[in-house]
Symmetry: C2
Subunit: 408 residues, 2 copies
């Protein structure tokens, strides 16, 4: 893991060169952002942002989105990006504009916020509990025809039908077929019976199934990941074939993630990938290795960074920054400091980052700024109200994290 | 000063006036909270809240606040609660009403949000970097006379003086004297020279010093913790004595936390404890042991909980809930399930909690709700926009987490 970290952050130093030598942007100074915390102003220099600041590099983000869509097109499948990664309507709209079928949501309040913000199609990937939440989901479906709900057990399907009838609608439904033990109905007979039950309900319309394998996305090494991903989904694929053979609708067979976006098209009748992290990347994904057998996963570019400021350089081999657990989370692998592959960044303190190092490539002073790749993008983004969308040194837009904290 | 329950209710109502909508429980059903995510309604039953929901038990919170103030009064020191724990103006007002000297803030944007929300006195415990942030701090001081700024190195003190002059004010300053290597100026000669430098600046007013020992708060066992805490702060205490002997103002000598609230009054001239977690408690603090030698720290009651819902009970010895890392953080010790001491709660997944157990005290069904004690309160609270303040089964108030996400 350390080798991978070092290889990666070292390699990206050149790419991030502009961070170390900020270009002045005429007319904008720190005074422009003195004042209320929000609204933040677009147009200012990235180097003037108060830290910790969550930034996304637009050039990289756009290339990531384009590459994913291009690859899926070539593989004759669709892209249904998972919004749990960004929770941001502005980014969702970029994904839709590139050709995505719609977005996925993990939680109902997340789906609601993004539908309200103009995302037209939303697949809710987990069943809702209890019945009150199902009723809320059906109210949402009434307002937004592009809403599809996953179900994973029979009572849930019956409650959903009752709620759909109550709302005077027909609800689009997919069966959440499990890979593992976390959520979803086990593949095989159980899943098929649930699909038949859904198919028989007057107010439900069966659209197909989804199968998400959370465990396989971060398996290191493309060959191993491919083998394990295809083996793990085999029974689900057989279940899909049996559903199809028995005349059940399987027009949707959705699943996969950033670690398997170029693997699942090999599954027969598979329709679309629920990719999330590819837009941002993080230390967890960078460590999984690419299709050429390299230790660094470089299919997509690390567009997401957190800017931090050095607040203590007094002790040799140590630095303290203003970005701790509340700015980065404590996921592992730890945050990577761009340009300083030898830095070990400990975000275990809530308010401070504690760096230890043997060698540094520059002399770090009080008030110096550094740029970090986050350990794990989803929960890190969820800490911020805004993402600064930058191009070169300039903040081009300030995007609200529309569904931040919407975990209900 | 013992604060009565009635005094607290009054303060609570006044503090939360903008969200206070007292209504009878009768007649409220899940339908009442179907609709936009915010504003949430007070008056509903706790059992109708959508999960994950962050709740604070008002009876316990009030007893914790009263006990801390009572203990400090008896020990002839003050309470200056750290707002980084709750980031919530309503709770800060309860602490002030109980007799707190003011609050502490870890970050400038946190201080700003709480001052704007009506907290009159605020001690910013970390120096601000770069100079632009110092200027912002001085603008804040101009608006709020009760603002005190920590400094920990000479350039910072000079920048602060310049910014104070620019703002046309005199700034109240304390020296952040380090315990350990994270932040602050080392005790002894360095700290005293900095205090003298501050004292000489025309636009700075030296008020004293602070010394926060983050490492000692969670040392297990009261006797060990006491010994280590007093040993670690000894040099800082000597520094304070020397400052005082040389005529420097040390009217503030602040520090300590929930783990040392009943220890630091033994430090000569110590003035107040910067306690945070005592209001809520969490799994980290519960594990440190109390003054009677018991393994459970029960000086304060665990008032803070997260409500979660079971979304999978299919596999023996396993349950899945809707509260993962985005609802709890991945700090350790892991979340505790109230009433189920044998449950091991893994919040490592962003969206789901995965429980394993050998024995359960009840049969857990799909849709059942459970109540969790969070691993570590500060970053967990920072995930939520609202805290449901409950008494018995009833939501008495919905409090905004005023400075949520304000880590700048």
């Amino acid at each position: 893991m350390t080798t991978t970290r070092r290889a990666f952050v070292g390699a990206s130093a050149a790419a991030a060169a502009h961070v170390w030598v900020p270009k002045p942007v005429t007319g904008y100074t720190a005074e422009d952002i003195i004042g209320p915390v929000t609204p933040h102003r677009a147009g200012i220099s990235k180097s003037e942002l108060e830290t910790p600041a969550l930034c996304v590099d637009l050039d990289k983000l756009e290339r990531n989105i384009a590459k994913m869509q291009r690859t899926a097109n070539a593989n004759k499948i669709g892209v249904r990006p998972h919004a749990k990664t960004h929770r941001c309507a502005a980014i969702g709209k970029l994904q839709m504009a590139a050709g995505a079928l719609g977005l996925c949501a993990a939680k109902l309040s997340e789906a609601e916020a993004l539908l309200d913000a103009g995302i037209p199609n939303m697949l809710m990937t987990t069943s809702n509990l209890p019945a009150s939440k199902i009723r809320k989901a059906m109210q949402l479906k009434k307002r937004f025809p592009g809403f599809i709900q996953a179900v994973d057990y029979s009572q849930n399907a019956l409650d959903l039908n009752a709620a759909a009838r109550e709302a005077g609608i027909s609800a689009d439904v997919v069966i959440d077929v499990a890979v593992g033990t976390r959520s979803g109905i086990p593949p095989g007979e159980d899943a098929i019976r649930l699909a038949q039950l859904v198919d028989k309900q007057p107010n439900l319309k069966l659209r197909g199934l989804l199968s998400y394998d959370g465990g396989v996305q971060h398996v290191a090494g493309f060959a191993t990941r491919k083998e394990r991903a295809l083996a793990a989904i085999e029974e689900n694929a057989r279940t899909q074939q049996r559903m199809k053979a028995s005349g059940l609708n399987t027009e949707i067979f959705s699943g996969g993630g950033t670690g398997t976006y170029n693997i699942y098209h090999l599954v027969p009748d598979f329709t679309d990938v629920q990719v999330g992290s590819y837009i941002f990347m993080d230390m967890q994904y960078i460590a999984i290795g690419n299709a050429d057998g390299q230790p660094v996963y470089d299919d997509f570019e690390p567009s997401l960074t957190v800017l931090a400021t050095v607040v203590n350089n007094r002790f040799p081999g140590r630095l303290t920054t203003d970005a701790g657990a509340k700015a980065l989370t404590i996921n592992v692998p730890r945050a990577g400091v761009i340009g300083e592959p030898g830095f070990d960044y400990n975000a275990g303190s809530d308010e401070f980052g504690s760096i230890t190092f043997k060698d540094a490539r520059k002399e770090w002073k009080m008030g110096d700024r550094m740029e970090l790749i986050v350990p794990h993008c989803d929960p890190a983004v969820n800490l911020y109200d805004y993402i600064y969308a930058t191009r070169q040194d300039r903040v081009e837009a300030v995007w609200e994290v529309t569904a931040r904290g919407h975990s209900q």
